[in-house]
Amino acid sequence: MAVQVKATLLSNRRVGSYHHLVLSGAGFASGVRPGHFAAIAVGGDNTPMVLRRAFSIHRATEMTAKGSVVELVVSAHGPGTQWLVAQPVGAILDVVAPLGRPFALPRDPVNCLLVAGGYGSAPMAYLAEELIARGCQVDMIFGASTESKLFDTLECKRLARYFEITTDDGSIGTKGRVSDVMPEMMKRAETAVVYACGPMPMLQAVAKVSAQLGAISQTAVEESMACGIGVCMTCVLPVIGDDGVTRMVRSCVDGPVFRGDRVRWDAVGTVPSDAYGAPQSGGH
């Protein structure tokens, strides 16, 4: 269950192109699983920015005396994230967490490949630890446009059996995309489950390669969100249900993690005509 808390910014450190924020507050780390996200109010009182910003939870630690700690990785993208990364230590932030449906973990110890794009690596170390604790073998591929947009590579390299990096500009690792090196890695690692977090086109490619090689994929999508808690219906995308029917489902409560083979990637941004409740000719 999500809580809304006033959290204190304990640390705000620049890491490459990103900022690593550490927040302390009451109760917001309890029940956090890898893949959950937090939504933060930006801009201060009476700000013209009326909506919260969503961030994957990098790590969450429940403590006793000081309350609990939630860590985030923020890329300064537009006005809201720029405001956030400019906050001084000690700033009080309004945080709602944990939100969404986390990554599903395998019951059996299987070989897992974690694929991240840019700040999509934020939840990966935490996920890797959980998988390793269940006896899974963990391999990773991190990709970014350039070296400074990779996050947490040192920590993750330590956790992974095989670890690879790709960059668009070749500044580090293999020049190219994560999906270029996936097939090779998956064969070598005998991957059964792929976990992915990153931009939508990357997730689509990851889902495709995973399916081709017979692996299950779990993808954490990033859709524009107004509320983050399931009340507004802005964050929808077409997903195929257990009954085979495509529905426009809310990525904030039914996701952000979906099985990659269930997302209608080509139809994201549209309402497919066979979706449940889709407009019939001349309708809506």
């Binding site: 009326v50 524009s224 107004a226 507004c232 309402v271 449940y276 409740g277 809506h284």
Partner: protein, 310 residues
């Protein structure tokens, strides 16, 4: 001195003057994590239609200065699923529930009203004749007095006379007072003011409309002066007609502005997205604002903006 926070919309008695706005609280369940939804004035549920509906393409929202545009397009499960799941939950939870209904034509409005009228959880019906997110602007019933009156009269005929029927109006009209008169004459027990204002934003990169549905409804503090004007005009023209006011309320002081302009109660919409506890917080803040000004009740402050200077 305590302030009496109870109020009414016609014969609908409310324990508090702050409700949720349709489409901004779903059917209350998600907000119940953040505050006790039975402690506010009521939950106005997302507009429900006869059939399941998938809504418009994404992106469905764009943040704008002090507001946002949305083009949800009334996505919902259809009235049968709504009754079986959402109304059942609201009833068991004991929340004061006003059901917002919508339809593609007058008959659909009646049929949806007929499905919810006998449910014991339903304390009132808000008739959404003003959703801007339809492909055909001609379908915005609230833009013409005749079509607005037709829909309201059909719903009025369908539900028992004891069931409050509130018509939700659009500000995108030349003369909102004329529309209010038309729906009152058709049997509405009050009006909700205002639905979103039709707007558009372009993507700065592509210079094309940013929303999948191209146009969207503007909400949030940006539209508050428009909403206050609408409430004030209708209160001035119709001194005793119940008004549920909304549009950009994010503090108790904002809510007081609506009440002073003539609203009997208020709904909180977009502010919930920024602060999921907003309806509860605003109730408390409003109570403080009333107390600070020496009002003993919400009713005492209602319409005070219309009083002639002493």
């Amino acid at each position: 001195m305590t302030v009496s926070m109870s109020t009414s919309l016609g014969n609908l008695q409310l324990r508090g003057p702050v409700l949720t706005a349709s489409g901004c609280a779903a059917a209350g369940k998600e907000l119940d994590q953040f505050f006790d939804i039975t402690e506010i004035g009521g939950i106005v549920t997302k507009s429900i239609m006869l059939e399941p509906r998938s809504g418009r393409p994404t992106p469905r929202m764009a943040e704008t200065p002090s507001g946002m545009l949305n083009s949800i397009g009334l996505q919902g499960p259809g009235v049968d699923s709504f009754v079986a799941n959402d109304l059942a939950w609201l009833e068991q939870r004991g929340a004061t529930t006003i059901v917002s209904i919508a339809g593609n034509n007058t008959e659909e409005f009646s049929r949806v009203a007929a499905r919810v009228r006998d449910h014991s959880a339903v304390k009132g019906i808000e008739v959404n004749i003003s959703c801007p997110n339809v492909s055909n602007r001609g379908l915005v019933f609230a833009c013409q007095p005749e079509s607005a009156a037709d829909v309201v009269a059909a719903v009025r005929r369908t539900v028992p006379s004891s069931m409050p029927v509130i018509a939700k109006l659009s500000p995108d009209v030349t003369d909102i007072v004329a529309i209010a008169h038309a729906v009152r004459d058709a049997g509405a027990d009050g009006v909700s003011l205002i639905n979103t204002v039709l707007g558009m934003v372009l993507d700065p990169q592509t210079l094309r409309p940013k929303l999948g549905g191209k146009t969207g409804g503007l909400s949030g503090p940006a539209i508050r002066p428009i909403a206050i004007r609408c409430v004030y005009q209708i209160r001035a023209a119709m001194p005793d007609f119940p008004i549920l006011g909304m549009g950009g309320i994010r503090s108790g002081l904002d809510a007081l502005e609506f009440i002073a302009a003539g609203a009997n109660a208020v709904s909180i919409g977009t502010a919930i997205f920024g602060d999921p506890s907003a309806p509860m917080r605003i109730t408390r803040e409003l109570e403080e604002e009333l107390q600070k000004r020496g009002f003993s009740s919400v009713k005492e402050a209602c319409g005070i903006a219309h009083r002639v200077e002493r």
